[in-house]
Subunit: 199 residues, 2 copies
């Protein structure tokens, strides 16, 4: 099975979005630098610090992404083109209206988390599977399947909103910091998730 790697941008008080799903200043770091990072979308180029560009290289090397239905709906399915050029697996109770679409590499899995992980792993080949969305990530942690978590720590206290980590059933979970990258307006923190017998 491919390695599962979770990544989200989070405020210092643990939020990935405000209560209305907007992100406030959390994503400022995608546009506050001089290094151009093209995405798979012609209408989207990031401008980040050199340090964040190094980080994004890793993010964008994912072999597949596994995401939840909520983030799919909020982004309107990235209008059919995710910024990262790789197959996308959407875990959902039902296939959204109008999907799948010809030429768009999105797979909808309605049979459960484990099946979605297997589909994404097959698509990723020997690369990592990237996970986005707190509910998907929580399920991966609780199933003991998450290998790594990368937090883009944004210098904000949002006070309320959607938490990165919530309702964890398997806590406490021990991590091991493996990398710190100091971007401009963001700190990229990489942690391995330690297997249970190790602590």
């Amino acid at each position: 099975m491919a390695r599962l790697v979770a990544e989200m941008t989070m405020s210092l008080d643990g939020f990935i979005a405000l209560p209305d799903d907007s992100v406030g200043g959390l994503f400022d770091w995608y546009s506050n630098g001089t290094v151009e990072v093209p995405t798979a979308r012609p209408d989207m180029t990031w401008h980040v610090s050199q340090a964040s560009a190094e980080h994004l290289q890793r993010t964008m090397s994912a072999g597949a992404l596994l995401v939840g239905r909520r983030i799919f709906d909020i982004t309107q399915g990235w209008d059919g083109q995710h910024p990262i050029s790789c197959p996308i697996v959407v875990l959902s109770h039902s296939v959204p209206d109008g999907w799948p679409r010809d030429g768009v590499p999105y797979t909808f899995v309605t049979s459960g988390f484990q099946e979605a992980v297997e589909a994404a792993s097959r698509l990723a080949g020997d690369k990592d599977v990237g996970l986005a969305g707190p509910d998907i990530i929580r399920q991966a942690i609780d199933a003991g399947l998450l290998a790594e978590v990368r937090v883009n720590l944004a210098p904000w206290l949002l006070g309320s909103g959607i938490r990165f980590f919530d309702h964890l059933g398997s806590a406490p979970v021990k991590l091991e910091r493996t990398r710190v990258i100091e971007g401009d307006g963001v700190t990229h923190l990489y942690f391995n998730v330690l297997p249970r017998p190790d602590y």
Copy 2:
């Protein structure tokens, strides 16, 4: 007025303690290194990484500490000797039984947060006032008085417990990362709290 500097050890999911006020593995970094850091308590010497020792030098240079009643009670008033050798101001609704005590530099302020800040500032002289306890820190943020926040980020997901940041009335609050220190089993993150007109 002295600079107010908040510091707590926090899990990646934002907790400073478990629901029963125990700290799980959060404080492992105080005893996982080879550098001896003596404290003001004869029975307590920390053994930390060189990087964390550098951080603790700053922590221990506080001119006074301002803490809440809850942390005072949980630690039983540090048995009359806080690890940091400086005056301690305890904000409380009432003076706890048996206090104050001769020779113990603890001041109990029952007239409110602002008065406690003023007392701690006077005691700190030209040094910083260190703040510990989420409720005290929240009040300082909401009053626009917090200058800096230092998070000792511990590599754990605790799942539930006491949050560092909760019930913030003044959010969103913008921060500016000023320093990252990679200790062993902890990442020390320093942020300035930006004044409101700046964003």
